[in-house]
């Protein structure tokens, strides 16, 4: 998301830089009866498009949700507009949990990825760019162990 924000800041600043370059070299360009209106319309359309595109990217990020409960994990992924994938898996079927933190910024700001290996149809859940991935990993492992103990106790009681 940080890379996307930097990209959009660059796109916002780019026309301003072009404006100053042209103003320094060809100041009469902005005084024309046709060039000035076209420049206004073009700049307006450009910035409106950039803002819309930024919001689309933000929605794609914001509507991706990962839910962890003591019974299951749920992965809700927004893949563009009008495309939403929801995966759900029982927590006791989780086989392996891995957390990864790569890079200077992720290390300092403590965010990274968590990969959850399951035995289901969708074998791997990926939690991307989440805060405190190590704590999340520990939490999932504890929940899995607790659930497995509960199931074992229930089986013993039933016997």
């Amino acid at each position: 998301m940080l890379k996307k924000i930097a990209f959009f800041v660059f796109l916002t600043i780019l026309p301003l830089v072009l404006f100053f370059v042209i103003a320094m070299s060809q100041p009469q360009f902005f005084g024309g009866k046709i060039t000035y209106p076209l420049m206004i319309l073009g700049a307006s359309a450009y910035y409106l498009f950039i803002w819309l595109f930024f919001f689309f990217s933000f929605i794609d990020y914001y509507l991706d949700v990962w839910l962890i409960t003591n019974e299951r994990i749920i992965d809700i992924e927004q893949k563009g507009f009008f495309s939403r994938v929801i995966s759900e898996h029982k927590i006791f079927r989780i086989q392996d949990v891995t957390s990864e933190v790569h890079g200077v910024l992720p290390t300092i700001l403590r965010y990274g990825e968590v990969y959850v290996q399951t035995a289901g149809t969708k074998q791997r859940f990926n939690f991307r760019q989440i805060p405190n991935p190590n704590k999340v990993r520990d939490m999932i492992i504890k929940l899995v162990e607790r659930k497995k103990r509960e199931i074992q106790n229930e089986e013993k009681n039933n016997i």
């Binding site: 024309g32 009866k33 046709i34 000035y36 209106p37 076209l38 206004i40 319309l41 307006s44 359309a45 910035y47 409106l48 498009f49 803002w51 819309l52 919001f55 689309f56 933000f58 929605i59 914001y62 509507l63 949700v65 927004q78 507009f81 939403r84």
Partner: protein
């Protein structure tokens, strides 16, 4: 060939109509699929406020332009040029 500057304005309005459809789509997705929290509402309102502000600033500049200006293209075949009346 002569035409008015307002042709470009109508093209801009066409772009705005398409842009508005996408805006409504984006707001619909946020309100339908986002968690029903204050942050979702605030983000949506903030987005709309900035969009309206950009439109207002654009209107401020566009309203000052004389869109009835005639533009002539290719007055002669030997020396094509753009003449502003």
């Amino acid at each position: 060939m002569t035409f008015q500057l307002s042709v470009f304005l109508y093209l801009y309005f066409g772009f705005l109509a398409i842009w508005l459809i996408f805006i409504l789509t984006a707001v619909y997705h946020m309100l339908k699929f986002g968690f029903k929290t204050v942050s979702t509402l605030l983000i949506t309102v903030l987005f709309l406020l900035v969009a309206v502000s950009m439109l207002a600033v654009s209107y401020g500049f566009i309203s000052q332009i004389d869109w009835q200006t005639e533009i002539s293209l290719f007055n002669s075949f030997t020396q094509p040029d753009i003449i502003i009346n």
